[in-house]
Amino acid sequence: MIRQKKWYPILYMFLVTVFFSTILISFSRYTRDLVEANRKLAFEKAVLKALSIPLPVTASNMDWHNTYLEKIKEPQEDLQGVYIYKSDDMVIGYALPFEGQGFWAPIRGVIGIATDKRTITGIAMYEQNETPGLGAEITKPEFRAQFEGKQIALQGNPLEIKQVTEELDQHSVHAITGATQTSIRFEKILNDALEKWKTEFLHGDNRQ
C-alpha cells in the first residue's frame, strides 16, 4: 500500500499544493489586469477629487479616466513627482501624492494645491487599510471637506489635526473621534509630504 510508505505524506502535500496553487495562480492571472485597472482608477479618482474637479454623480469609470487623461499632466523630472492640472496650457493646480505608515498598513493619497502653492483644494486617499468605521473615516467626504481652503503654515507644522474640542484656525482641522492612532499617524504623513513641498516649492519661490 502506497499509504503505508514513509514518504506518502510528502507526496500528498506536494500534490495538494500543486492543485490549489494552480487554481490560485490561474485565478490571479485572470484577474490581474482588472485589479491593476482598479488601482489605477482609484488613483486617478483621488487626483481629480483632490483638485476638486467636479464630475456628476452618474459619471462612469470611463468618464473619470477620460477626464484624468485630458486634464492631468504626469510629473516630470523637475517636479518631484507632482502632478499638474492644466487647462488650455494654463496651470490650474498641483496634485501632490503622499504616503506613509498608518495604523494597519500604508496610507496613500493625494493633496490638491492651488496655483498660489499655499491653498489646499482638497485631499483624497486611494489606498488605506485603517480600521473600518474608525480610522477609515479619513476617506469620508465629511473629514476630507475640512481641508478645502486651508493654508499651508509657513512656520511650524504645515497642517495640524486637532482634538474635536479645540478651536480651529487657517492651518488646522479636526481629528476623527475614537481614531487617535490613525489621526496621529495621518498628521505625520501629511506633514512629511507638505514639508517637502514647502522646501521644494514655497521656500524656493520665496527666495526668488
Binding site: K6, I10, V16, V18, S21, S26
Partner: protein
Amino acid sequence: MIDILTAIFIISSTAAGLAAILVVAERFFADYGECLITINNDEKRTVKGGGSLLESLTSEKIFIPSACGGRGTCGYCKCKVLKGGGILLPTEEPYLSAEEKKNNMRLSCQIKIREDIDIEIPEELLAVKEYKVICKKIVDLTYDMKQFIFSLQEPAKISYTPGQYVQLFAPKYDGNTEEVYRAYSISSDPADNTIVELIIRLVPNGICTTYCFKHLKEGDQALLNGPYGDFRLTDTNAKIIFIAGGSGIAPIKCMLHHMQNITCLREAVFYFGVNSEKDLCMVDTMRAFEKTLPKFKFVPVMSRPEHPEKWKGETGLVTEAVLRNEKNADQSEAYLCGSPGMIDASIVVLKKLGMKESNIFYDKFS
C-alpha cells in the same frame, strides 16, 4: 507559462519540504516505544505508544463502544483508568459527572498512551470478540426490511444475552470511501449459538444498510463484533409489555425465543407498530409464539391501513393501542425498541398507566 509552472513547482516543493520535516520529527520525537496495558488487573496487552487508548484497544480487538470515532464528541467510550492516564484533560470534562471524575473515569479516546497504563472495563467487553462470518441466507421481510442470517466461522460460537446487539462492519464499496461499524440487535434463537440473525431496515443513503441491501450476497464473508448492550429481560415474574416499531422487532423476537426455550410462563403482550400492510412482517412467527407460549399475545397496530375495510386488527398509533388495551400497569414491566420518537411517546403513556420508570427498559435507535 514556464514561469507559472516554476512558481507552482517551487511553492509545492516548499510545502512538501515542510511535510518532510514533520515526518522526520515524528520519527525522532513522537516515538514512544512499546507500552503495557493492564486490563482489570489481569489481562495484559503490549501496544505501540503514541496512539489513543481507544485506538490501541481496538487494534487489540477489545471494542469499547464509541460513536464519534475518537473525536471526543459522543462521550460513550468511558472507562476507568487506575494508573498512567495523565491528568484529566479539558476535552473530557464536559462528559464526566463529578462522581465519575472521582472514580477515575476517563474518555478512552482522549487518553494518549505514553507509558504503561492500568484500566478497568466491564468484563463483558472483554467477552466482546470479532467474528468472521458468512452470510448464509437473506430473506425479504417487507419492501424495505430484510432478515440476514450469518453463520459463524471464526470463532465458531457466540454467547449473548437476548436483547444485546452486535456491530456489523461495512467495508468500502463503490460510492463509499469509509469503513464503518453499525449496531444491529440480534434476533436469532439463542439456542443456536452458531448463527447470528439480524433484521435490518434500509436507511436511504445509509452507508451500512446500502452495503447490506445492495452489495452483500448470500455466501459472502462479513465481519461482526459484539455482543454489546444491557437491554435484557429481568428475572421477575411481572407481566411484560413489549412495544416495538419496524426493525425494533429484532431484540423482542430474540427474547421470545429465549422465553420459549426456558418455558417461561410470564404474561406478555407485544404491541408491534407499523404504518400499513406493506410494513407488516413476521406475523406467522409471532402467531407460532402465541401457540407455544400460552400467556403471550401478539397485537399488531397499523397507523394508516391502506385497506381499512380488510384490516381487522388495531389501528392508530401504537401508543393509542396500548392505552386502549392496558388498564393498570403498575405491576408490569415494559421493553421498548424503536425510534426515539416512539420510545419517548411510549414512556409517557406507560407512566400515565402507572408504570414505574425503573420498570421501563428500552433500546433507542440513534
